[in-house]
Symmetry: C2
Subunit: 358 residues, 2 copies
Amino acid sequence: MAETPIRFGILGCAEIARKLARAIALAPNAVVSAIGSRSVDKAKTFAADTGLPPSAKAYGSYEAVLDDPDVDAVYIPLPTSLHRRWVTAAAEKGKHVLLEKPVALSAADLEEIVAACEANGVQFMDATMWMHHPRTTGMRAFLSDGERFGQLKVIHSTFTFAGGPDFLTNNIRVKADLDSLGALGDVGWYCIRAILWATDYELPKTVLASREPVINESGVILSCGSTLYWQDGKVATFHCSFLTSVVQDLTALGTKASLRLHDFAVPFQENSALFHVTSQFSSPLVSEHNVINDLPQEALMVKEFACLVASIKGNGSKPDKKWPTLSMKTQLVLDAVKASIDRGFEPVEVLSPLFATT
Amino acid sequence: MAETPIRFGILGCAEIARKLARAIALAPNAVVSAIGSRSVDKAKTFAADTGLPPSAKAYGSYEAVLDDPDVDAVYIPLPTSLHRRWVTAAAEKGKHVLLEKPVALSAADLEEIVAACEANGVQFMDATMWMHHPRTTGMRAFLSDGERFGQLKVIHSTFTFAGGPDFLTNNIRVKADLDSLGALGDVGWYCIRAILWATDYELPKTVLASREPVINESGVILSCGSTLYWQDGKVATFHCSFLTSVVQDLTALGTKASLRLHDFAVPFQENSALFHVTSQFSSPLVSEHNVINDLPQEALMVKEFACLVASIKGNGSKPDKKWPTLSMKTQLVLDAVKASIDRGFEPVEVLSPLFATT
């Protein structure tokens, strides 16, 4: 059943785009058909370096990728401040959109992005790779198992890495005009998504930012934390930072057991990943669960996205609303954390996602 | 060098006293010489069950233990509300005091306890067993190593267990007249001590309790959390609870590496314990460190305490002020968390320990 692969265009030669070029090559239902950069030479170099197929075209502009009829979908790893412009442009050209996180500068920004995709009938998905790892499915089954896990009460997540002097001076993620949400948008995005994932995407009612964020002279967050409160008493905390060595922890505490992992966003191993279950009601107290994946999680993400696109192209299916809804919920919490910081660490209500409930 | 062992009296037949009776037997420089209970039969049963030496006396009152000239030191596992009375009585009889945690109902209560010990020249130590594990020493060396760990920025600790319906109804730790601090005093004590330990006992300047503590109808905390803030920007969070399955995690994030362990208070194994170091600057990313202990940590605690007592008895040394100071610092933070809860989750300044600085 050799289906026609979904043809991807990539907008920009960001470092992360190299990983995605490989992921698209690995996914059985996807192929890179174009790379666009503001410099055609950079695009050509990218194509050569990442081993794009000879059929892939290298363009000296993003517009050219969007104008290419051999492009079904675009992967957009541009700085966040450019997302609205380029997603809108892509959607208007009928291109499906796989968008690097953080997806938007704010929920309002994201509403426009999602509206553009909806208006043009194209699939939207954010590039949160770990969502597509089979470990995530395995952990979901565990958290949903009332007999084994009980009721979810507390979640804690940490994602940090030490950016170092060059990163903290020059990286786009510390520039107010490019990625104004800094560490909150970058690694904090993963923490918030993981917390929402653990609650099966129930939004917290209130968010209270920790009182000691580190903010650079341009106002970009380098380190921050927050507590999230749910109506039913669930509590979550997270900490995200560019200032301490790499940690990517997720812990979920249930009445009967707890779940933890230490590589939730980017697994230590490419083809298998662990999670740990601790329960005072079973023996051994701690059990280790190893989940094998046949493809790297980023290739599984591409595969899933391409599958949705193929279904729209081939069968006239509607775009799956699950993905923009998850992006919006994540963004709403992120916005509330930012608002709590901006308002001097006051509790901030998390607003309902307007479009997600329609 | 067969020194005379330090002779312990135990006040009360609490469950934890069984563990200590064994620890005293295992420690090379200690022996149980008396057990006192309000019921002499219970004391005799305890002596038989725990295999106390034939020379050990079983008394039908605590006073009798304190009056026994063959008792050098007492281990007091009584409910917290009784600590001041019995520590004071013990100190006045010249008995050294190993006191179960939480040590006091408040810093003011603890000041009286410590003052009574100081006035009578007896050693005071709280029974925080993990402090005496060689793993703790190994981790301290790592945290103090600027080359490997860098600068401490963030700490997170969780200690919870699922008490279950009987515990939540009947245990002394949920009774306002016995252990009014509930989960905060019990498991929260360990979290706070671990956080202070990680900072080398630098007190935070401010404490802000999490907004969703669970409190029973008698006003006893069953579950709570807090964020702690230091002058230099360090931040710690902790969560303690009787309501979710057992977790005892400690994570310390440094600029160059992080430390974590999942059994910080009671190691999974009795004779060895692990800690994990993660660093983006070394290979492998995660390294596991296994520390062997020749005696269980509670026996090492007894050994250390008995050593201090022997030094006072034999050489006329003064009691070591380190231990009451650590107790007081822990209590001050605990009090601040409680105050923050009581004041509707306002930030609370942590007061300086008056006696500890003298």
